[in-house]
Each structure stands twice: as structure tokens, then as C-alpha cells.
Symmetry: C2
Subunit: 331 residues, 2 copies
């Protein structure tokens, strides 16, 4: 079966791109980058969510689905260091508006409001059987401050902006059908799945620092997203097992569900933390900056290498993990 990457590569191979000086970046990054005026550019990104595939109302309150539909798109703007500005919302559902639509919209619009994003358009259509939601987001950035996936340099440190795997663990717990009381115990993990926060503030700070070489958000898991970043940068990477930030909750949940911790941490996806690289000599300055701006902690998890492939170093064991994260059509 074709993977999601195969399909995208195929679409790109079909394109006969007309030369267009206004497009700074097309397919291949978190957002397309289009010139706006002499100093600024627009960032454009879009995501589709399907009920039963990307969200399950059995354990996902509709208002939080709405927040998440906004958040995953806002995260793409954060990933390039931009400010989100405008959104479009396409809704498709069978027969009539579902009962959860009002709560979904309230959550969606509340999240947009928190980032002063204006809903400027969309479409409402009847589907055959799925409820699906497509959000398109338009952000803005100074052209020379945009951070791409493609800027990583051999020797860079690889950073992530928070613990990894909590969202995947939360999803696994929900799927295990533990019931409301049992899930209450895991509310931190379940919340990471239900209501991710886009790291807009941190993305802006990193873009303004001029110290970051490459950046993206972690939506498909570190193994796949770091592979994307390396492919665009023509590099490889090594990740150190002992450097991966993992929450105590996740360790406990992994023990309870008898799941390997690394599956969630490397392959789970939906963390919506930022993944970025910078020269080792700037590590201290970056840490100080992030702390000063109250954007939590950043974690150095590995290094960019000249050789290709993404590898995990676990004690003396080295294993390849390139593109081993979430794939829409494989998983």
C-alpha cells in the first residue's frame, strides 16, 4: 500500500510548476510561503480531520475537537515562526448538521479568538457518510525571520519544546475504554490528546532569536518528523534515548497498558511541540531566552549528522528509526 509520503511525492512529481517568484516555498514544509509585500510573507497551511479517524466523540468532547481542529493548524504557523491571522473552515456531514456542531464551533472559534485569528470563509456541504472538517490557516511573518525545515546543519543540536508521547499515550488510554473514573487518573495524558496547545509564542521567540536553523512541529511523531526535517536539510540525525523528555505519567501508563514507552515517544504523533535545530554554542542563549519568556523548557535530544537516516542511540545499541512515526495510510 502507498504511504502518505508516497502519495505526496506522487502529487509533487505530477506538478509542472510555472515559475512564480511570489512563492518562496511550495509543498514540503509546514506551510507554503507566499510573498505579501516587500518585507512580509503569508504562511498558508491546511489540515483535514475525519470523525472516527482523527477524532472519536466517544471520548472527545466536541468543544475540544473544535479547539484541536484550530490548534493543529495554528501549530503549523508556529512551526515556521509566524503569527496566525485568518482561517477558513470547511464542514462536510451527512443529512443534517450533527448535534455536536454547536459545541464544536464554540471551541473552534474560542481557540481562534485566543490567537486573534479571524474566520474569513469556508464551505458547508453534505457528505455521503463521514463528518469531516478541513481548516485552512493563513499566517504572516517577516520574510527574513521564517524558519524552514531545510536549514539544519551537521553538528546542530536537535531540540524539542516539551515532553513527547503524552498525546499518543492519552489516545491509547481512551481507546482502552477505561471508563470516566479510570481516565480521570490520566487526565494529563488524555488532555494532551484532546486539547493540544499550539506553541505560537515559542515559535515567534525562536524566529526572532535568529539562532534557529531549522524548525517544524511534531505531528506524526519524532521519528517521522525528524526524518522530514533531515530530508529537507540533506542531513541525518542521531537521537539519544536517555535525552528524550518523557513524563512520569507516560511511564506509568506504559507500565499499566504494557506498552513500550518508545512507541509513544518516537512514533505516536500529535504532540504539537516544536522540533528545531541550532548550533551547540547557542544552546545556553536559547535556554535563557525561552526561560525569560516563560515558554517552559527546551530539551536537546540529539544531533544533526552529515550521513543520512535518523538513528536512535540506546546505550551501545544504534537502530534506524527513519520515518517510523505515524502514517495516515499505514497505521
Amino acid at each position: 500500500m502507498k504511504s502518505e509520503r508516497d502519495i505526496i511525492a506522487h502529487v509533487v512529481s505530477l506538478l509542472r510548476l510555472p515559475p512564480d517568484g511570489e512563492v518562496v516555498r511550495g509543498i514540503g514544509d509546514d506551510c507554503a510561503v507566499i510573498n505579501k509585500d516587500s518585507r512580509n510573507c503569508f504562511l498558508v497551511s491546511t489540515d483535514t480531520l475525519v470523525e472516527g479517524v482523527h477524532f472519536d466523540l466517544a471520548w472527545h468532547p466536541p468543544a475540544l475537537v473544535g479547539r484541536k481542529a484550530a490548534a493543529v493548524n495554528l501549530s503549523d504557523i508556529a512551526a515556521m515562526g509566524g503569527k496566525p491571522r485568518f482561517a477558513l473552515l470547511n464542514l462536510a456531514f451527512p443529512a443534517s448538521a450533527p448535534t455536536w456542531l454547536d459545541d464544536f464551533l464554540a471551541g473552534f472559534i474560542a481557540m481562534l479568538g485566543e490567537y486573534a485569528v479571524m474566520l474569513v470563509g469556508g464551505d458547508t456541504v453534505k457528505s455521503s457518510s463521514d463528518c469531516s472538517i478541513t481548516v485552512t490557516i493563513i499566517g504572516e511573518a517577516a520574510r527574513d525571520a521564517v524558519i524552514y525545515r531545510s536549514g539544519a546543519v551537521s553538528g546542530d543540536l536537535v531540540f524539542v519544546s516539551g515532553v513527547l508521547g503524552n498525546a499518543a499515550a492519552g489516545l491509547a488510554l481512551c481507546r482502552a475504554a477505561l471508563g470516566r473514573n479510570a481516565l480521570q487518573k490520566w487526565k494529563g495524558l488524555v488532555g494532551a490528546h484532546q486539547a493540544p496547545e499550539p506553541r505560537i509564542g515559542l515559535g515567534n521567540i525562536l524566529a526572532a532569536s535568529n539562532l534557529v536553523h531549522a524548525m517544524m512541529d511534531i505531528s506524526d511523531g519524532l521519528a517521522t518528523d525528524l526524518a522530514h526535517l533531515c530530508e529537507e536539510s540533506s542531513t541525518g540525525a542521531e537521537v539519544a534515548r536517555e535525552s528524550l523528555p518523557v513524563s512520569e505519567d507516560l511511564e506509568a501508563a506504559a507500565a499499566e497498558l504494557q506498552m513500550p514507552v518508545l512507541d509513544w515517544v518516537l512514533r505516536g504523533g500529535e504532540d504539537y511541540q516544536l522540533l528545531f535545530t541550532a548550533a551547540p554554542e547557542h544552546e545556553a542563549a536559547l535556554r535563557a531566552l525561552v526561560r525569560e519568556k516563560n515558554e517552559g523548557e527546551i530539551f536537546a535530544v540529539g544531533r544533526i549528522t552529515a550521513g543520512r537516516g535518523v538513528f536512535l542511540q540506546e546505550g551501545s545499541k544504534r537502530s534506524e528509526i527513519t520515518y517510523q512515526g505515524y502514517d495516515h495510510f499505514r497505521d
Copy 2:
């Protein structure tokens, strides 16, 4: 059951719009209009198509579905007088890429290429059971040349840019399951359904003329789309039955299928012709301009009125047709 208009009105009612001087026009026109630089603006629009609802591969070759997915979005740019520039494509399908995906993409990309539109992004996800396609299009226009739905003035003539109802008739013929040979006889009508052409050239000419007060494209049928234009302009309209441009093919198909001609002409939708208004004293100049530029013929079908509602005058009979066109959730 809520109509599509009800749902959109509900979304709009939920919006607490942050003041944003960069948004010239939000929800309520064919495109959102966002400032680009001191002279120009971006036009943004999006549409979702679902297999089995918006297209049926039993009679719709995948390459033409691809062309149409592009065309209906390009038409929204035409409707405001803009030039299309960039597109995003979201694909959702169950399990794996459908066998028709390659042909679909070839048609989609060919149509974009004809208008020098660059595909800059998108998303590919697994759905639960529907194949759905969302296209987002970004166009550009000089800010003072954009034509809105809201500019119609009482006394204006109402024009359409081509015969009406052919696409609806073509769809009805396909649905009647006539077989390939029988459909060959109706290929003009079937082609209007399968492969509409966006009126980009005409839209640009009308925008540059400075003679057009209000414009939109006809996607849901004249009865509904003229009602939209009138609502945004705080006017009404009267349409004269004998002025409606109807093809001989459509008359013949209506006789064969025993369908009322007006159902297709007023209510059918998907014509993707332009609907626009201008002062009567400019009719001759507009006709000459359109002829000179080889953009076919324009037809004056009625008049904008001060009183509200859209009415059809048929001999001495006057009947209200406000919003009697296609509605995604009623039909």
C-alpha cells in the same frame, strides 16, 4: 432541517470578530478579501467535493472530476474579478489511494496549469468511508477593481454570461442512466455538468471596465444566487422569463425527460457563469467590450429593484423565487 444558509448564518452569529483592518471582506462573498500590499489584495476561497454527493464516477471520468474540482474554485476568483495564483488540495479517502487518483490529479493539475496556478500545499488523510476533496484557491486583484456581491443598485440590469441550466440538465441525463450511446446525443449538456469552464477572462474584463456594480458566480442556480446578491446589496430583483437564455438542447432534454425547463434554468446550479449588474446606460458598452474580447455573449435577464425578494415575471404572472435554488442540505 437546517438549510446550508441557516448553518452559515449560525457560524457567523458565533463569531466575535476581532477588528482587523487587513480583512476587506470576510464571510459572505465568493471569496474573502485580504490586503496584500498598498495596491493589491488576495482573494481566498475554498470548496469541498464528496464522491457520491458532488460527483459520481459512474458517469464522471476522474480526469474531468479533477478539472471540475479546480474549475469551481477558479470560478470563485472569476466572480470577484481576480486572477487565480495559488491552490491547496486536501484529499481524504479510506484505506488507500483510489485507482482513479492519478487521473483525477492529472486533470486537476492540467486545469491549474491552464490558468498558471501553482499548487503550494495540501493534506492527504485517511477517511472513514468517503472520498472527499477540498480545494482552496488564492487569487489576486487590485483592491479598487474587486467586484463584490453587495454593490447592486435599484434600476441596475441583471446580466448572466451564458445559457443557464445546461449543467443541471446534463446531471439529470446522467442520473437517468441512459447509457453511453444515448448520452452521446446530449454531450453538450453532459459536458456542461462534467467540465465547467471558469470565466476568469470575462471576470477580469468586467472588473477592468469599472462598469459593473455587483458580481458573483452561479453555483447554486439563478434563484438562489441572485437572492444572495440581492441580500448583500439590500435590494430585490425581477427576472423576466422570456429573457432567460436557454439552449435548444436543454429544451429538447426537458421534453424527453418530461422535466419543467425552469427547474433546471432557475434552480439547477453548477452553471459557473457570472451573474452581474450594471446601470442600463452601460449595457451597450459592456456588450461591445465582451464581444471585442471574444468572451461570448452576455444576457440581460432582469432588473434590480428597491423592494426585497427575487421575483419571476412570466407573462402577467409574478411569482417569488427567492432562494429556490440548490441547497446542500435541503436537496
